[in-house]
Amino acid sequence: MSLLEIHNLSLSIHGAPVLDHVSLSIDPGQIVAVTGESGSGKSMTALAVMQLLPAGTVATGSVRLDGHAVLNSPEDEMCRLRGAAVGMVFQEPMTALNPVKTIGDQVMETILIHKAMPRDAARTRAQEVLTRVGLPPDRFPLSRYPHELSGGQRQRVVIAMAIALRPRLLIADEPTTALDVTTQAQILDLLKGLVTEYGMGLLMITHDLAVVADMADRIVVMQKGRVVETGATDHLLRHMQHPYTRMLFQASGHRVALPAPPAPAPLLEVRNVVRDYRLPRTRLFEKPVHHRAVDHVSFTLNRSERLGLVGESGCGKSTLTRAILGLEEVQRGQILLDGQPVFTGHKPNLAVRRKMQVVFQDPFGSFNPRHRVARLITEPFHLLEAPPTGSERQHRIAEMLTAVGLSPDDAGKYIHEFSGGQRQRIAIARALMIRPELILFDEAVSALDVSVRAQILDLLAELCAAYDLTYLFISHDLSVVRTITDRVMVMQSGKIVEQGETERVFADPQHPYTQTLIQAVPKLPEIGQGAA
């Protein structure tokens, strides 16, 4: 008998269908990955197993966990199962832990709430599981608070809480999506190890096929609340049947063709830039300590060149981006655009500032929800001395919306009427509005589904050909940077450790850090490409 048996599970929330006859099963020691894009119902499937569904959910079908029917079973019975028979790990390690309780208390709580053992034994067990997940008590005492740990370490604590009672089933909902590639590789290793060691079943929810390709025993592909394809990983990747599966597969390895860059002519010059942050003093009269976020960085970005900047979180790429945009003053060095400094005196130079635009990561937070699209995308006009008015302005709006694949009629709509991908198109239209000489893309496609991401990358390639764009593409996603840039720089602890032509760097990385990064990127096996 299977450990988890989901049969014909249908869900609706306040009447809106969410899941439609979903069936899947997991055996002990087996890893089953559920994949699909946002809105496909993969997280809802996981929450249905935990019976932690939002209010107003109506469920039919059956979910059997280790022989118990969990669907619509009484709440106190579910409380006994949760944490003991089934553990769960969530996506956002930064917020998944209670900030005012120590990690020891939080891990012990799983044990104590189920009255599994006395307090002393629970403490010993908490130390054991924390050691098992890579946080030995001699370096990470139980008295630590979550804010004293990094994202990866917090995710380890969450995993420790989930496995403290050795549940038969572990559910991991996008456990590595918020983490850097190297941390992601470590967490995936840990999960794999736990499954073999404890003989647990693992239900892994992910939007990224590559993450599970060399880990899952079975893959379940979901689209709009339905399972469209399922099978043993190897077989499924080799013989994809459903067009949606093929589309997902192709989109995650999507390549675009960029026009060849012209002869180098410097546009942006960054010379020996240093940015220090003053850290709070720990004693009253000691000398203030500085953290060097950007450490003697120099590079040149040529006109019509597409340059990538990669590195893990905290490596200084955001600080460097802000410095280039003139949002922050640097302590040493110079940043020149077209030979003019972005900072004159202690003020940003407006003449230079109007030659740059930026596209941010979050397509939901970067627009004022009370303005219409026409007003949103014409905002950069305030940088110009003589912004276009009247019909010229209307014409410009229509042209830009068309250029990014939207309709000129969209100008009168509000931002909530658009999907994430459309919003990112609007963000690009806003950036292109004043025909800047340089665009900075700060994780601009990281929050998008693979298929939408592929479309946006195609759009960028088209715009490169049409408008001769020069951009700096900042991302932690190496596969995207690989296809969308001509040259790439790798940043580690404030320093550029390697730079060169993108293909050359990816094919033959010289610096050990670059090698580690590229090694850690989950790869889709080549086999699927032929079938697709």
Binding site: L52, R80, F90, N98, P99, M161, A162, T282
Partner: protein, 315 residues
């Protein structure tokens, strides 16, 4: 934690110093000479000069400021212009009414607000929550003196459980004193409790939406366990802020209630002192209130750090 407390303590001392200068300056620019006010318009210049010397008004301003501050530090707040008694004694007598009243009201308001706020948050959108929201809306809208009059009408005039006004004093025992402060404390506490309950509710609702609450449920905690173990402590930060503000208000702002219940409190003392241009009393009481407010803020800061470990390390 110790360093955090020390830092807060230094900032407390600085705030007090700045406040004393500001208060002194404001009182100085206020028109009217206390001496001529006391003696009336027909006073002889010699008498006026003698009185000014007696009151210490004949020296330079910086000197007067220093005299005032050093006096206060030694416990000497000067002599009231109108009553000719030491200000320190007057203020101390009134403080023995106002401080217990404020603490009493704050305790009541907290005791009401916590369970009510938590109850409402746990039943969001359900009849219990709606009832709480309606009742607290009313509690905020109705002025506290109206509550005071209703309380007097019901409990003093009809039921005769309490006196309608006056203060029995602490000499007749703790119970007699508390008994005579009960109705005013309830009248003061009700609107404050209504505000605090709403703050507690909305702070808890914010916390209930946090990821770590879901994590707690995934560990096997029931809704109620998750609320009590992970919710309440996280919701305390905004609640503590409001409690701090409310205490300051209760200490000085209860003048109307003191009037209704005929209590010899600080509020009435200030009111009378202002009417009589008894600036030395006004100065002293205001300084005392500033001291109380700053001290309460210091205590609230310490409470923040006790509740939230992130504040402890960010010194």
């Amino acid at each position: 934690m110790l360093r955090y407390a020390l830092k807060r303590l230094i900032s407390l001392a600085l705030s007090l110093a700045v406040a004393s200068v500001v208060i002194f300056a404001v009182i100085e620019v206020a028109p009217g000479d206390p001496a001529s006010f006391m003696l009336g318009v027909n006073a002889q210049p010699e008498t006026l000069a003698a009185l000014r010397a007696e009151l210490g008004l004949d020296v330079s301003r910086p000197q007067r400021y220093l005299n005032w501050v050093s006096g206060m530090l030694a416990g000497d707040f000067g002599t009231s212009y109108t009553y000719r008694t030491p200000v320190a004694q007057m203020v101390a007598d009134r403080l023995w009414v106002s401080l217990p009243l404020a603490l009493y009201a704050l305790t009541l308001s907290t005791l009401i607000a916590f369970p009510v706020g938590i109850y409402a948050a746990a039943r969001r959108g359900k009849p219990g929550d709606l009832a709480v929201m309606g009742a607290t809306q009313l509690g905020i809208a109705v002025p506290n003196f109206w509550f005071a009059m209703m309380l007097v009408l019901i409990f003093a005039i009809n039921l005769r459980w309490f006196n309608a006004g006056g203060f029995a004093g602490w000499d007749n025992g703790l119970w007699a004193g508390l008994h005579s402060l009960t109705l005013p404390a309830i009248a003061l506490a009700l609107p404050q409790a209504a505000i605090l309950a709403r703050v507690m509710r909305s702070a808890l609702l914010d916390i209930l939406g946090e990821d770590f609450m879901r994590t707690a449920r995934a560990k096997g905690l029931s809704r109620r366990q998750a609320l009590w173990r992970h919710g309440v402590r996280n919701a305390l930060i905004p609640v503590l802020t409001i409690i701090g503000l409310q205490f300051s208000f209760l200490l000085a702002g209860s003048i109307i209630i003191e009037q209704v219940f005929y209590l010899p409190g600080l509020g009435r003392l200030v009111f009378q002192a202002i009417s009589a241009r008894d600036l030395i009393v006004v100065e002293s009481v205001v300084m005392l209130l500033v001291f109380a407010v700053i001290t309460v803020n210091f205590l609230v800061d310490l409470a923040y750090a006790a509740v939230d470990p992130r504040l402890r390390s960010r010194t």
